[in-house]
Symmetry: C2
Subunit: 369 residues, 2 copies
């Protein structure tokens, strides 16, 4: 990394912590919020403030918000929390291009004998809605696909699910930096690091929806999550959500123009753009048949551009992206994917530099041994 100016185009894997978050964390009380003394009450007040902020951004009540340690935990709490209170015959529906935290929880439920359907998606990662039917009791849908950015038809999914009497969990870990989370979900999960708000997570649970906890112990978080509350993580995600709520329109306009430039570059370099036109504004993704994602990443990295080949959660492995395979791409295409995602501080100069680097690395589109 030395003294080269780096261009960070991996916002979707981890957004830099926002200045508003650093400001909110300054001088935060450090005691245990469950303690009755003044130090504990100060920590409790800070936790309450964070909870109120998240609730306000979601147009919800304080009691609807549970803080978790990550987006994955929020997603798992929503899915396991509802499903483990359902009879095993109840239908549970999600789609094959959802995030690993959703799919792995669903596979666990399947192994436990629950009636889980992992329904197909189209070539843009959009869900087959007919999977939701009269026997469905729980549906989990993303706000947007985290690998290709396609926006999900959340309103239609919610309408269809509610008509069937099913609860809907919206995995809003990817997206709320750029678009507002929906207000009609029964459960909605958030990820701090994708908001520029540190490591925590949060789960909205509509009043009246009962959850089986994942973590058992003390009575923290309305009995939904035992363990000492992390006031810092709660404050960070709250401040980030609030900042994103204010900055979304402006940041999204800038991101849309920057990502369009990057997509044009990817196409010129021989890439096939992935995802629907209705996508998160900061996404520029493509596949390069005949190339390997890791090779492209490492070449970009050496040239000072931080990018991704899909979900960071899976990038430790050399498996092809389950999202791209679910979209019907060939194994060869799925192994040659590139994901560029701009952030709140991406400058037009960064995009110009990245475009030049991409062109020099990818232009001879005949590559691969």
């Amino acid at each position: 990394m030395s003294d080269v100016t780096r261009v960070y185009l991996d916002d979707a894997a981890g957004a830099p912590v926002l200045p508003e978050v650093l400001e909110a964390l300054r001088g935060l009380p450090a005691a245990n919020p469950s303690s009755l003394h003044a130090e504990g009450r100060a920590a409790r007040a800070a936790l309450d403030r964070a909870r109120d902020m998240v609730a306000e951004e979601l147009h919800a009540d304080r009691g609807d918000i549970t803080f978790t340690s990550s987006g994955t935990e929020a997603v798992n709490l929503a899915i396991f929390g509802v499903a483990r209170r359902l009879p095993k015959s109840a239908g549970i529906v999600t789609w094959a291009a959802e995030h690993q935290s959703v799919l792995a929880a669903m596979r666990r439920l399947q192994a436990d004998g629950h009636g889980v359907t992992i329904a197909p998606v189209d070539r843009f990662a959009r869900p087959a809605l007919e999977a939701i039917n009269a026997g469905t009791a729980l549906v989990s849908i993303g706000l947007a696909n985290n690998e290709v950015g396609t926006l999900m038809p959340v309103a239609e999914v919610v309408a269809r699910a509610h008509a069937a009497g099913a609860l809907v969990h919206v995995d809003a870990c990817a997206g709320p930096r750029w678009i507002a989370p929906p207000l009609d979900a029964d459960l909605l999960s958030l990820s701090g690091h994708k908001l520029g708000g540190g490591a925590g997570g949060a789960l909205y649970v509509r009043d009246g929806v009962r959850l089986e906890p994942l973590l058992h112990g003390g009575p923290q978080e309305w009995g939904r999550r035992a363990g000492r509350e992390d006031v810092g993580a709660a404050t960070a995600i709250a401040a980030a959500l609030k900042a994103c709520g204010r900055q979304r329109p402006m940041r999204s306009r800038i991101a849309a123009a920057q990502a369009a430039t990057l997509r044009a570059t990817l196409e010129r370099c021989g890439g096939r753009i992935t995802g629907a036109d209705e996508r998160l504004p900061n996404f520029a993704t493509a596949t390069f048949a005949g190339r390997r994602g890791e090779d492209m990443l490492l070449a970009l990295d050496l040239a000072g551009v931080a990018a991704s080949s899909g979900s960071a959660c899976a990038s430790g492995s050399l498996d092809p992206s389950h999202v791209l395979l679910a979209m019907g791409l060939s194994m060869d295409e799925a192994l040659g994917s590139l994901r560029l995602t701009t952030g709140y501080t991406t400058a037009d100069d960064d995009v110009a530099k990245a475009s030049a680097v991409l062109t020099s690395i990818l232009a001879p589109a005949t590559a691969r041994a």
Copy 2:
């Protein structure tokens, strides 16, 4: 809190973050450790360093350490992780004065049909060892009781459990500030905030012991815990554990003298000391029949002394301490408990001030309406 100098005697509910931890957190890489680019690799390296530090303190290998979001999560992962891979007929043993995170997990397992025994303790909170027998497959024992400080006979429990072929989880959330964690546990859980190391947790899992994860999703933490790794929390608990490892002998000597002074004061005020003589060195606990713990806490708080009436995790509720009831105390005694715990920065002057305050508040030992 204003400008009064406060005396904080609630170390067991939350230890102030150590300067070594703040130092270790300075300039920590912020990217996603699962990302392949330079920013991600820097975060991965920091996470590896933290894991190596914890492993070194526990005389273990890097692969034995899983970071969690809290002590409760570490305890839950150990207990559920092992138990859910056992046949339901297998014996699982713990004791009635263990921490809520242990007991609540055990009750959940009981409800699921597992063969759980919650065995009795004596009046010092010490476990009845005969609960471990030939059918036992898993035992969970604390390093020390977190409400009265009694040291548990961990070596005897481990020996008896291993002779029966059972795995042993040692809940070392309370204690490692002051005494070294044992080296012969099969699983050992740690809590960051009790070490002066922020909000995270960690679980040691002996090589060869397989766990069913609680959180499902990406392949992080050797597949034992999905979700983006929290490099900050991992670094904090690692730095705290290392600092505690170095400072334990010196701090324990100081704490033992200070806590003895506080216990003498509590006795002079009419309190009955709780816990065994073999206790964590910083513990001064007593019950005051005829008084209410909350009333004493609030009076102390107003006079500038932060104390506790038992486990902070339960203090939101007005229920009597399950620990004291398990020790055979009457309901009246259990409701009148006081826990004073000194910390690394407690000064002799703090103890003197607290003793004076205690005397003025508690001395007229005839209280209560």
